[in-house]
């Protein structure tokens, strides 16, 4: 190819795949979601000179370079600092009752003797297995929970905007989900918030992994009105006349100064314990009544990961469209790093499942975002970056796949 | 000293080979007439239908070879279908002639109540000697009521003289092993019956060494 193809979002022109796992160099890093702009340039996962992604580099470090006994000691010190002695909650665990939060909350309570309050930012639309697992988390896992469901009218509109403007329907959800931990901590007078795995493990800059504390920028804001949802600022929503600032209460991030003053700290359990998502599955089945998805999850080969939201498959569909990688790539990359499958096996699975269209909840998704099928495809196609997609024989095909089956491979 | 295992495209012979090797024998898998006739011991394996088994033996021209070998009185053992084919006739898929080396017929295992006694008879079951002497036979040293692995729907009905052991299934005592001179038959699979089965394999090997 003599001419360089245009790459949307400022993504790297050349599509490369990690030599160790199956993730591509198009994978975006975590961002401060409520600042997401339309068409903004994405920061992506780093590949070193050997062509290995930072998540794999971090994983190698996890295996040999970290003294986990020491980290456990640090965890105990931390928890000792916050543990209550009067029966009040002493740690907030945000989560949906999926394997990661189920593990986190249960282990904090039953192994480390804390008194957690789990808080859930409701999925857009609960799947039945998701709801059952959530309930079991309490009924069998023996934990307390607050389920926070934001105003659906606003949430749907924000999701619709996020889909069409950013092709990132989950953006408003992620804003709320990140804020709820610290927000609930403030309300309940709890100072410690504990998440499970550090997202940095999946490819943010390595330095973020040496820090157990979540960057406050993710969940605090100086100026609420400038927060963007689906590429539209709160000010603009209010200005259009349908909503007032009251409606945005769930999304208004606590002020940084406030949090610092109250001494709220947000940590990742994944910094202190050697994390293995599949082992969280086993643990949660054994301890919190978790059940895997009865059927294979669309777009992947597994049944245990991210199964509680009907809209979830569409998040992965949009990563496939924008970055050329779908749910299977994410699942498989994680399992390669954690030594469950080989890279060859992962490539085979990605080839088999990554581009599977999520049919089961398609109609419900369209209804949720008040969009017709034509409008859906029109938006999708607008976001296909030329350096990732090519129209061949009337169909859109990936130029490059990890199994080297792309039209340009 | 060499033991030949007859190869006629039927059944899992690898386990039989392994079992004999495990017990120290020099074994080969063959359907070559000379190789068989020159062996110190011969094993006739087999799973599946009587008629298929006989057809296959016929196809490989082995029927006369086996008869010739057994005339020399050297040790010979039929396992499962291999035992059934030693007899005169079998009922599976219509009447089929067997090797006729031992008087008797092969019939379907009678079961009283198909709910509780299913077919095929797939299970570990006990060998009973009644008053039969096992010393000097392939069952020497095998404890009374030892469990062996059975999987079959048909059984042999020999003359009492030749019965070496009986086994009970569905309140019916069937013949689980036979002996006529140095010709033996085991309805069960000694190569699949754990350490008890290996005793039988070892006994057969010793017999071949002594001949």
């Amino acid at each position: 190819m003599s001419d360089k193809l245009e790459a949307y979002y400022g993504l790297p022109n050349e599509v490369k795949f990690c030599k160790k796992c199956v993730i591509s160099n198009q994978r975006p890093s975590s961002t401060i979601e409520f600042k997401s702009e339309i068409g903004e340039k994405k920061k992506v996962i780093n590949f070193n000179e050997e062509g290995v992604c930072s998540a794999c580099v971090y994983h190698a470090e996890k295996e040999t370079g970290i003294d986990w006994n020491d980290r456990d000691g640090k965890l105990r010190e931390l928890l000792a600092k916050f543990r209550s002695d009067d029966g009040s909650y002493d740690v907030i665990v945000p989560g949906s009752g999926g394997k990661d939060s189920a593990f986190t909350a249960h282990v904090l309570k039953y192994k480390y003797g804390m008194n957690p309050l789990t808080v859930t930012w409701a999925p857009h639309l609960y799947t039945s297995i998701g709801w059952e697992n959530m309930q079991e988390w309490m009924h069998t896992g023996g934990l307390d929970n607050i389920l926070y469901t934001p105003n659906g009218i606003l949430h749907k509109e924000m999701t619709k905007n996020a889909f069409h403007n950013l092709l990132h329907p989950f953006q408003p959800f992620i804003v709320g989900q990140r804020i709820i931990g610290p927000a609930m901590a403030k309300k309940f007078g709890v100072k410690l918030v504990m998440y499970g795995e550090n997202q940095a493990e999946y490819g943010n800059s390595i330095e973020e992994n040496t820090n157990p504390i979540m960057n406050m920028d993710f969940f605090s804001s100086e100026d609420a009105l400038s927060m963007k949802f689906g590429g539209v600022s709160m000010q603009e929503y209010i200005g259009a006349g349908k909503y007032t600032k009251d409606d945005f209460a769930p999304y208004i991030a606590p002020e940084k100064q406030d949090l610092i003053a109250t001494g709220v700290e947000v940590h990742y359990l994944g910094y202190y314990l050697k994390w293995d998502p599949q082992e969280c599955y086993y643990y949660s089945v054994d301890n919190t009544g978790f059940q895997a998805n009865p059927v294979r999850t669309e777009g992947t080969y597994s049944k245990y990961s991210s199964i509680d939201d009907k809209i979830d498959p569409f998040h992965y569909l949009t990563t496939l469209i924008k970055f050329g990688i779908g749910r299977c790539t994410y699942d498989a990359a994680q399992e390669v790093r954690n030594d469950k499958i080989t890279r060859d096996e992962a490539a085979y699975l990605v080839d088999k499942y990554d581009t599977e269209f999520p049919d089961i909840y398609f109609k419900e998704f369209l209804e949720y975002i008040d969009t017709t099928e034509d409008e859906f495809w029109s938006t999708i196609d607008k976001h296909r970056s030329p350096h990732i997609w090519k129209k061949a024989g009337g169909e859109w095909k990936l130029r490059h796949t990890v199994a080297k089956t792309g039209v340009d491979d | 000293m060499k033991i030949a295992i007859i190869d006629f495209d039927i059944g899992n012979v690898r386990s039989i080979l392994s079992a004999f090797e495990n017990q120290g024998a020099n074994v080969c898998l063959t359907n070559d007439k000379n190789e068989i006739l020159e062996s110190n011991g011969v094993i006739l394996p087999g799973v599946g239908a009587f008629s298929h088994g006989m057809d296959s033996l016929n196809k490989y021209g082995l029927i006369e070879v086996i008869k010739e070998y057994t005339e020399s009185n050297r040790p010979f053992m039929g396992i499962c279908l291999g035992m059934q084919m030693l007899f005169e006739e079998g009922d599976e898929f219509g009447k089929t002639k067997g090797l006729g080396l031992i008087p008797g017929r092969v019939v379907k295992l009678p079961t009283k109540d198909s709910q509780n006694e299913k077919l095929p008879h797939v299970s570990w079951n006990e060998l009973n000697s009644k008053d039969i002497q096992w010393s000097g036979t392939v069952l020497e040293g095998v404890k009374e009521a030892s469990d062996m692995y059975f999987v079959h729907s048909y059984v042999a009905e020999p003359d009492n003289t030749y019965i070496l052991s009986t086994t009970e299934y569905s309140s019916y005592n069937f013949c689980s092993s036979v002996k006529l001179g140095n010709i033996y038959g085991c309805q069960f699979h000694p190569e699949k019956s754990g350490k008890n089965g290996l005793k039988i394999v070892k006994n057969f090997i010793r017999m071949c060494e002594n001949e």
């Binding site: 294979r296 096996e345 699975l349 | 690898r14 392994s18 495990n22 299913k118 299970s123 079959h152 754990g194």
Partner: protein
Amino acid sequence: MNKIRVIARVDVKNEFVIKGIHLEGLRKVGNPNEMALDYYNNEIDEIIFMDAVAAYYDRNSLSELIRKACVNVFIPITVGGGIRTIDDIKNTLKSGADKVAINTKAVQDPDFISQSKKIFGSQCIVSSIEAKAIGGGKWEVYTDNGREPTGKDVIEWAKYVEELGAGEILLTSIDKEGTKKGFDVELYQSVASIVSIPIIASGGMGKSDDAVQLIKRANVDAIAIASVLHYKLESIQKIKDTLVRNQIKVRL
């Protein structure tokens, strides 16, 4: 009543034994040949090797493993996972297996069972059925290692595979397997009431009493156990002793 067979179910991925829950998860628990030999030495009655990822990778690859196992494990060996053609069966038996377990292919093409039975005999053909409870006393047949629903009713399917000529049924409860919370007794009661070929119950055993509860209430012929052995929750000896104490005959 037959002696109940106590069978070790060994799920294999490449060179490892793995153990999942609800047929999900690839946690490594040991080496297949070592574990098979260990169970054989401790008087297990039979071994079932299942290629746990045959469905993922559209392959089957246990031949080498079986060949090694046959060298020192002298009890019946059944092999399943990715058995799709007559050649697959031939090669598997040639490697040393006594029986093959077939699921996905049979659902896609039921005639495969009758063909296989004609060539190899019923005693070699085990119909493997993965059952998921769907309420109202019904179970649905799944394929591809518990991933794909088929819309078929387990009871009807079990009856059908018997007619087609399967010699035994390996019946796995997806809901219970790997949970160590006991067997789905109703499942086995329902299927046992309409088929007359042997049934191997698989999925859920966590302690000896689970087996007693099942066998006393459902007419099964064998139990296939995994977690309880792989995680060393109980020894084979203890399981058999418990069964005997409860008037259930086993090979000792």
